[in-house]
Symmetry: C2
Subunit: 138 residues, 2 copies
DNA sequence: TACAAAATGAGAATGGTTATTAACTGAATG
DNA sequence: CATTCAGTTAATAACCATTCTCATTTTGTA
């Protein structure tokens, strides 16, 4: 039960009411790709009235602590991924939907050289697909 | 000289003053990753007074016509890539800078299956790097 | 030149995100 | 158990990139 508390403490974050609630909401539902707005709505719906500002703060704090990862695939909105393990994304353009691809499925070969004074952070792959268009004629 | 005019006509776009100017600005300087604001500034600096609204319209029209490609790597701003050939990106986090990686350099293996009713649009790879932190001690 | 359709520009409107600041809480201390 | 205070939160204002609106201008064609 205090799992979330420990999680937060280990991340150097005080387990406040709001942070605990948001963490439960985020991490107890499997891997997800969420926007701040969605998290806020879900929190309110779950009778955890949190301000939108706090949702933003918390999401960024969680990201800095390595509990979340920011994903930029499309558009101007920011999404957060609760899956911080090595993986990639399948993006369905016409549905605006993102699906995880486990990291061990795909392989990236022939990486370019990285200068000595730099270090690799991560390799992100987005496989973009869309539904085939109806071929009305023929 | 009429290269840009032909380019625009072939894309189904009338070669208006603004579109011609912006096209020259975008495509005669090698491959670039630009924001609407930057294009607007450059246009004004080049004595081609274009409104910001027109810059946005034009960038989207060019994108639809396949002359540009939208790239979403980081942050809330939209960037457009003048390189529409097959290639990937190297992103230097601490400089907020994007560099092209030619498409034939890297290879992505073991792609996941794509359902029959869907088609692959593109595979985007972002190699994220950062400068090594100064190790003040030791 | 005249005309209809397309394009443009100025500024208002929108929407997501960040900043501000006063009130509140958690947890350590006496 | 009360006190204290750094850390946290909430309401709302500010911000910024982008989109919308629509009157005006330009373009291609006759």
């Amino acid at each position: 039960m205090t799992d979330v508390n420990v999680l937060l403490r280990d991340a150097g974050l005080r387990p406040t009411r709001q942070r605990v609630s948001l963490a439960e909401l985020l991490f107890c539902k499997g891997n997800r790709h969420v926007s701040a707005e969605l998290v806020h709505e879900e929190a309110v719906a779950a009778n955890v009235p949190v301000s939108l500002a706090t949702v933003y703060n918390t999401l960024h704090q969680f990201t800095e602590a390595g509990l979340l990862r920011e994903v930029a695939i499309e558009g101007t909105k920011t999404y957060f991924d609760t899956n911080t393990t090595d993986h990639h994304h399948l993006y369905i353009e016409d549905e605006n939907r993102v699906i995880d691809i486990p990291g061990n499925v795909m392989n990236v070969a022939d990486m370019p050289e990285i200068p000595d004074d730099m270090e690799l952070v991560r390799v992100e792959v987005v496989v973009r697909v869309r539904h085939k268009k109806e071929t009305a004629c023929q």
